[in-house]
Amino acid sequence: MATTQTREQTRGVATTAPPRPPRSREEIETVIARVLKWFFIIFFVITTAFPFYWMLTLSVRDMGDVLLNPTRLFPTLDQLANFWEPYQAVLVDFNFSLYIGNSLALSVVVVLLTLLLAIPGAYAVTRLDFRLKAAMSWGILLVYMFPAIVIGIPLFVVFSQLGARGSFPTMVIVYMSGTLPVALYMLRSYFQTIPAELEEAALIDGMTRINTIWRIVLPLSIPAVASVALYTFMIAWNEFLFAILFLTDSPLSWTLPLGLRQLDSQEVPRTMLMAGSVIITVPVIVLFFFFERFLTRGLTAGAVKG
């Protein structure tokens, strides 16, 4: 360190007298860093965004065209004009409109129930003092990391036994085994960042606990609650393991991911699968862009399991 310092100092003196000084390590490395930076920006943009662009393009082309011109990057105007055809086929002929309804209903109910349970639960674990507090906190962490497939088998068996394997309430409950721990964990991390003084002041002024939660904690937590809602929605919307375990033999209740997967194993033009993929991906991406600000913060506050 010391030698570099002296070198810098001498160089500072030397610049007053040309010829051109040798480039310092600082300058060289700054240039390299800039080059690398743009290289990686391009690399990341291509690897992350291009597959989605490709999905969109392929979805409007027909299979014959793809086989003939595999490298064509843009669809023809003709294909763009008829872009609706594959979508109509997927939505109507392959029942995707039904699956959209199923997925939407399931995800929304799961989100609401998860929030209803997780907000008071997370609050209690962070703010209130009780004997089992530490145990509960650890429990949340443990459950958060627990493998879904280990829970999947017994749940599969018990609901088969009850004859309710593919029913809506079953799916809600089963999906909540994935969303509830995440929501609890995220909200707990967030509540820890809200200063307790605010609530204490309110309590001293004679507000009840419940009122404090309702009037002070919740309004302060709107960003966190929004991000938890969105994440649990995404988890439920993207869920695949429980869908294939529980719903495979009840086609009328298939969710979008399961429907798409089953379509994949049929003799269907590959490009039509891309239309299906677009249908299932677009809602998530749109939601994400609307709420990006909340989401990035929420992710680091607790992260999503996956």
């Binding site: 810098e8 390590r25 600082e26 700054t30 860093a33 990686f40 920006i41 990341f44 690897t47 965004a49 595999p70 349970l117 008071p120 639960g121 209690a124 209130l128 003092d129 009780f130 509960m136 990391m145 627990f146 493998p147 497939i149 280990v150 829970i151 088998i153 017994p154 068996v157 088969s160 036994q161 004859g163 409950i173 909540m176 085994s177 509830l180 721990p181 419940i210 995404m234 919307w237 695949f240 393991l241 979008l256 991911p257 997967r261 590959r270 699968l273 891309m274 299906g276 677009v278 299932i280 991906t281 998530v284 991406i285 994400f288 990006e292 990035t296 992710l299 680091t300 992260a303 399991k305």
Partner: protein, 391 residues
């Protein structure tokens, strides 16, 4: 009636009824009598009493009847609560003078109880039951009339079968390699992405948005796009490789490349997760540390190596742990990408195969237990090692 059940079943049955009965009782007293602890105790007694009693005299002989009985209990509790709220009196003998501490604790239990019950029902309970199933010779075809909790047919055969299977050790080893490589790749890519995006430039917000795409998009659709891109006949990647004079390969099914592909996929899909964590931490590093280093003549690479990376150590630790756990028991990614063919079979996929191809619940459950145990061992070793490091 109860004599035909095993002790284990009776205990489980009692616990279920305790919860079903305990919950309404709890709220009854929490709202009216401000004494939820006694309420919970009484609720458990009523629950177990009604549930057991009705079963003993034969009123409850099916699942439907049990559900109806539980609902009746709840309705009764609600009606009682309503009546009491109108008459403004509770069961006076249970009232007590409470300290603030007790009130707070009561409230905490009240707020946690629903969550607690759900978590017990859908996580803890199945976990225990998975253990029970792993010691029983249960097949898929036994399902509708399976005795739920019973250890009379106790056997170790499932474990024998699982551990002696020819490809058990290779599969376990492969799962390890996949997990470690995938985790490293995801964290490395996440680190690079965070370093690249940390300083502002034009379009930074859009780039940051793109970076999260692989992670938030539904797994099924992402896998389908990968299958398209790497297809041997019309995949774009193959076209490019062929254009450069290479050979056309179906990357996802060829034994030589399939494993690399699932690792790459793991890195691609989950680096955004690492990226967000690392970015948040990088942005929290105080600027004057860099200023001071700069004054001391540290070049950019030295600032990265001696300031940024050491500051990120804790994040790397957390990320590695989280990603390791989740990758180790990840099922859908590889199942959808390759179905476990061409040297890509992981433990979770084998569990699924045991369940649906071999139609053997017992071995699937045993394998799941093995998975959880291995994971627990690794995590505790990691914690030990990591905590020592920290000191």
């Amino acid at each position: 009636m109860l004599a035909t059940f095993s002790l284990l079943e009776v205990v489980i049955y009692a616990i279920v009824w305790a919860f079903i009965g305990g919950l309404p009782g709890f709220y009854l007293f929490a709202t009216i009598d401000r004494n939820p602890r006694v309420g919970a105790r009484l609720g458990v007694l009523v629950g177990v009493g009604v549930g057991f009693g009705a079963t003993l005299i034969g009123l409850i002989d099916s699942t439907d009847a049990a559900v109806n009985a539980a609902l009746l209990l709840w309705i009764a509790a609600l009606v009682a609560a309503l009546v009491m709220s109108f008459t403004h009196r509770g069961f006076g003998q249970y009232s007590r003078t409470t300290t603030l501490r007790q009130t707070v604790a009561d409230l905490a239990y009240g707020l946690l109880l629903p969550t607690f019950i759900i978590v017990i029902a859908i996580v803890v309970f199945p976990m225990i039951w998975n253990l029970v199933l792993s010691f029983r010779p249960v097949r898929l075809r036994d399902l509708p009339d399976l005795r739920l909790f019973s250890l009379e047919d106790f056997t170790l055969r499932n474990y024998e079968r699982v551990l002696n299977a020819r490809d058990f050790w290779p599969t376990l080893w492969r799962t390890f390699v996949y997990t470690i490589l995938g985790t490293f790749l995801a964290i490395l890519l996440g680190l690079i992405a965070a370093l690249v995006v940390k300083d502002s430039f034009r379009g930074r917000n859009i780039v940051r948005g793109f970076l999260l795409f692989p992670y938030i998009a539904p797994i099924v659709s992402v896998v389908l796009v990968w299958k398209m891109l790497f297809n041997a006949q019309f995949g774009l990647v193959n076209e490019i490789v062929a254009g450069l004079g290479g050979q056309r390969i179906d990357y996802l099914t060829a034994p030589a490349t399939a494993f690399t592909m699932i690792v790459l996929f793991q890195g691609w899909r989950y680096f955004p997760f690492a990226f967000l964590f690392i970015l948040a931490r990088i942005q929290a590093i105080p600027e004057d540390m860099y200023e001071a280093a700069k004054v001391d003549g540290a070049a950019p690479s030295q600032r990265l190596w001696y300031i940024t990376l050491p500051q990120l150590q804790a994040v790397f630790g957390t990320l590695f742990l989280l990603r390791f756990i989740w990758t180790f028991n990840k099922f859908d990614d590889v199942f959808l990408l390759t179905g476990g063919a061409s040297n890509t079979k992981l433990i979770t996929i084998e569990i699924f195969n045991q369940l649906f191809s071999s139609r053997n619940i017992g071995t699937a459950a045993a394998l799941a237990v093995v998975l959880a145990l291995v994971l627990a061992v690794v995590v505790s070793v990691y914690f030990r090692w990591f905590l020592v490091e920290e000191r």
